[in-house]
Symmetry: C2
Subunit: 350 residues, 2 copies
Amino acid sequence: MSSSASPAPHKVGITEVARHAGVSPGTVSNVLNRPERVAAATRLRVERAIAELDYVRNSSGSSLRSGRSSSVGLLVLDVTNPFFTEVARGVEDEAAARGLAVVLLNSAETHERQRRNIRLLAEQRAAGAVVMPVDDDLSDLLWLRRQGTAWVALDRGDVGGETGCSVSVDNLVGGLIAGRHLIGLGHERVTFLSGPFSIEQVRLRHEGLRRSFAEAGLDPDAAVRVLERPQLNPEQGERAVDEVLAGGPRQRPGAVLCANDQLALGLVKGLGRRGLRVPDDISVMGYDNVDFADLIHPGLTTVAQPKYELGRAAMRLLNAELDDPGHAHERLLFSPELVVRGSTAAHRPA
Amino acid sequence: MSSSASPAPHKVGITEVARHAGVSPGTVSNVLNRPERVAAATRLRVERAIAELDYVRNSSGSSLRSGRSSSVGLLVLDVTNPFFTEVARGVEDEAAARGLAVVLLNSAETHERQRRNIRLLAEQRAAGAVVMPVDDDLSDLLWLRRQGTAWVALDRGDVGGETGCSVSVDNLVGGLIAGRHLIGLGHERVTFLSGPFSIEQVRLRHEGLRRSFAEAGLDPDAAVRVLERPQLNPEQGERAVDEVLAGGPRQRPGAVLCANDQLALGLVKGLGRRGLRVPDDISVMGYDNVDFADLIHPGLTTVAQPKYELGRAAMRLLNAELDDPGHAHERLLFSPELVVRGSTAAHRPA
DNA sequence: CGCTTTCATTGACACGTTTCAAACGAGCTG
DNA sequence: CAGCTCGTTTGAAACGTGTCAATGAAAGCG
């Protein structure tokens, strides 16, 4: 970006640069895209011309000609969720390394917006996308792939395999280690505060939780009660408090595992309003290990996912696919980790 | 998006649609962009052809021809900060209403990334941008405007005026009402836990705080101590705890006003680690009223900004500028609001 | 009926870039 | 010196769209 005020706001393109440097447009293009193929002397001349004219490439031209743009989409369930913003950082860093721009698109957890965003990616002829599908209906995404836009699924193991690459954290194991932690503390009756079961991650975490009880010789059907909420945000968590406590002190669960941290934070707040103390009266666990999990009091016991790494890996897989469209699709599976803080404690019989 | 599997992945453009519908390409273009100018009968025919061929517009072509793309940039200081994600929602909603796509670009609080992102906007010939400048050095942004890309400044009042539109919340008043609240509680010695003073908002909040003391007949220089941290995140807040408490119990401030909620959350956590109780031992105030401010215990007293509305207003101003490039620049100023929760309490003399 | 006005449609061109076969020149080899 | 090769550069031809002056058709008017 030259600091000299350009007196003539005249459109300057590759051809004008060529003229100014005394070469052909083709050469300028080469300097821009494959510098190694042009002689050092001419390259220098062209580079000077570029600087002097304050030329800035028009990516519409490139994309039109080459059929693909040089930006990738990051289709995210909900920008508001800190989990995704961490992932976004990972994707960005890896994309930048390859010179790709990231456009962040927000589905806001609705199918219609996801559809609009997919449409957008197709129209832009995006190089590719990292996608967090809003639910199990993948038809729009498959359409996108037929249009020639590759994507890798994020946190959706089942989507990988035949259709493409995927990166995810083992949600079954996550539910399992969460359950083991609670069982280890003596809890034999817990509630799973869930999001919509149409979301795969939610289903798997629940299944893992059940399995931990089975593995301990307890009957999952008796031990874990499920409360399904329509969304995964703090407000829903707070509103769930009545149902969680329904049935009076005797029926009250000793511990609640929430489908994600957002729900857990809301629940903790709601419990506080009711005058219940965490973890003395009731233990609460989250899932994700969002930054804020460490900031509330007591700290939220939760299951950590390698968020940043998840984003990096996804973008790396996408890069691989762009380099070699015929490559073998990969399914990367990360392992979750238990993070114990203050919100869970040993069960105290009433 | 037709569900029929297209057997021929043949590139279908506006011309092929035209042929299929028995009209000229120009007419198809009109159907797409100015439907009112084409007779109902032909329009229907064209629309059917579009559906049958599963045509998807190539935005590279449009942008190339028209010189501008149909997406706007949202240049944000830090995607990780919940404040911005709220703003993003507002911008998105308003942009969608006008058929513009929003690409979210993250400066990660560094000048270099901001520069790269600005470059990107120029190369994409973005229709416009909503920008949160990383600091007072606006040269890159002015360059962008010279390139023909309009932008409106977000939360940067001083940037508006001659150079363009701006939308912000009155940070001076924000600091003022925060200070009045603390003074009302009897605090006469407070600490301002600040971010970099290169950020305008920070300076103004500080100035407002000082003014509140002056207005109460107290000497600002004696009453408010400043602690400057290099970034506005929770980690910095937590790390600041030593300095806040420096000098022992007698010197300890009765209250701390933080430059934003992130800092405050970190500080509260740090104080907890030190065994200090909020607000009994020390009062803490944040700024922004991020969602999480309500989720910690005690709830964080803070200054609320109309985040979503801020985003909407900014995008609306941008729309106005795009409609009429010669329009008079506007400076919109929102008012902050005090939100009292549990983290502040009356001063107790030691 | 001849004239103008209005409305719909046409068709060619331009936008800025990449690509690729072809041309060029210099250096080598026999 | 003719013949080759290799490294560099050229020039023209797309890519898919929007624009606009021109054309055609239909309608309104005196």
